[in-house]
């Protein structure tokens, strides 16, 4: 003889038998898991894009090289950082952490470890993408086709700096400096003085890719720092056939 079922058991079984309680179909859980995986993939891709874009923008505008000009350069670098994009990156990292925390490989570890691992993976991925000509190619396409959202995004690069950084190539050596053909397609008259810092040395010739730090007044920049930089991935720098060499300014 079967023992009398407990009231709880009897209620549960009655609810199941009457059809009030039904099993959710398997596809419901497959869909749920798939959505999480798609969410993780999309956020990870967005993070890779953002991080690589931030690095690309910093290098493209020359802000990346600003700390080599001492404390003033560090200040300019911090002021030039795209804080809005950095904030967006942090939000995406938090979202990604929340999604992966549902899985044992993440929640079994202290939050610090899983968050650091996540940041490390997306940073390495972002740096790797920034080394490729991906963003330069996208930027070129964007400018040629005048794409509505992407064009201002790539033109501004998310930078918020005080406009003290000017990157480009030396077009012509002049008596008191040189003419810089900027990456934005402008010609700027760069004036150097004995106070101008040259952390990479004076060995500059026409066609060299450089970054200049200094306040701009119309088309003239009084440089407090000049240094040579390497070309961006996928960047073509036209070389002069007989380049003129830069002469450092003499002390007054």
């Amino acid at each position: 003889m079967n023992p009398e079922p407990s009231p709880i058991k009897a209620k549960i079984l009655a609810a199941i038998d009457s059809g009030k309680v039904k099993m959710r179909p398997r596809w419901h859980f497959i869909l749920q898991t798939s959505l999480i995986i798609v969410g993780v993939a999309l956020i990870a891709l967005a993070l890779l894009f953002l991080i690589s874009f931030i690095i690309f923008s910093l290098r493209n505008t020359g802000a990346w090289f600003a700390p080599s000009f001492g404390y003033r350069g560090i200040g300019v670098f911090l002021a030039s950082l795209p804080w809005l994009l950095i904030g967006l990156t942090v939000i995406f990292v938090v979202l990604l952490e929340i999604l992966v925390k549902k899985y044992s490989f993440a929640y079994r570890q202290p939050l610090l470890y899983s968050a650091l691992a996540l940041v490390l993976i997306v940073t390495i991925g972002g740096v790797a993408i920034a080394q490729t000509p991906f963003h330069r190619g996208v930027m070129r396409q964007t400018f040629e086709r005048h794409l509505p959202i992407a064009e201002p995004f790539y033109r501004g690069g998310g930078m918020m700096g005080p406009g003290l950084i000017h990157a480009g190539s030396i077009e012509e050596i002049t008596a008191n400096g040189f003419i810089l053909s900027s990456r934005q397609g402008e010609d700027l008259n760069i004036i150097t003085s004995p106070e101008t810092q040259f952390p990479g040395g004076y060995d500059l010739i026409e066609g060299d890719l450089i970054v200049v730090m200094g306040e701009r007044s119309d088309g003239t920049v009084k440089a407090f720092g000049v240094r040579e930089i390497k070309a961006m991935p996928g960047e073509f720098i036209p070389r002069h056939q007989f380049p003129q060499r830069f002469r450092p300014p003499l002390p007054r």
Binding site: I12, D17, R108, P110, L111
Partner: protein, 197 residues
């Protein structure tokens, strides 16, 4: 039929339920009703709430049984449902806000091995804990109950509460310290102090 059920593992029964053998769920309820009820009472301290909670736990388990991976253990999966359900009940009653972040889960902590290997000592400890559980907050009470009363491992508790394994150890140790402190305080209140000459 009942005889053959006894030979089946929880996971085999759950697999059977997933395939539509509804009656196998009755056996799972039979096996876990007392355990989940005991857990719920230590969690909620109210018989009626515990009864309603347990019923809801099994209904949720049946509804979501197809999400159970039969290659893993059934009991941590069921306790995870129980944890969520009972925590919801408690929050509704106490109007406790849901903590978004727990600093205990941030940093790694070394796991100290449990020293209570002596069975008599362990039995006394359980009785002492049982009588004083209501003095602990849910955060510390729950891992203590799962470890000492439900005999689950740190790893299983980590899966149920979805917190790092090292945090489970930290919470159990802190719970024991809090109970010890509480006991010492209550002893001080009732026992006259011996005055040394």
């Amino acid at each position: 039929m009942l005889q053959s059920f006894n030979q089946l593992t929880d996971e085999e029964l759950a697999k059977g339920v997933q395939q539509g053998e509804k009656y196998m769920f009755a056996e799972l309820v039979e096996r876990y009703e007392d355990k989940i009820m005991r857990y719920a009472r230590r969690f909620l301290f109210n018989f009626h709430d515990a009864e309603d909670g347990v019923q809801e736990v099994f209904i949720k388990a049946y509804t979501n049984i197809r999400s159970f991976d039969a290659t893993r253990r059934f009991s941590p999966w069921l306790y995870r449902i129980a944890h969520n359900e009972l925590l919801n009940t408690l929050r509704k009653k106490q109007h406790e806000p849901i903590p978004f972040f727990d600093p205990d889960t941030l940093l790694p902590h070394p796991i100290a091995p449990d020293q209570t290997d002596n069975s008599i000592k362990a039995k006394e400890l359980k009785e002492l804990m049982s009588a004083n559980l209501d003095k602990l907050s849910t955060k510390y009470r729950e891992p203590l109950v799962l470890y000492y009363f439900e005999d689950l491992s740190y790893q299983e508790i980590s899966d149920i509460l979805q917190i790092p394994t090292s945090t489970v150890g930290v919470r159990i140790n802190r719970a024991k310290q809090a109970l010890r402190k509480n006991l010492l305080n209550s002893k001080d209140a009732y026992e006259p102090r011996t005055i040394a000459n």
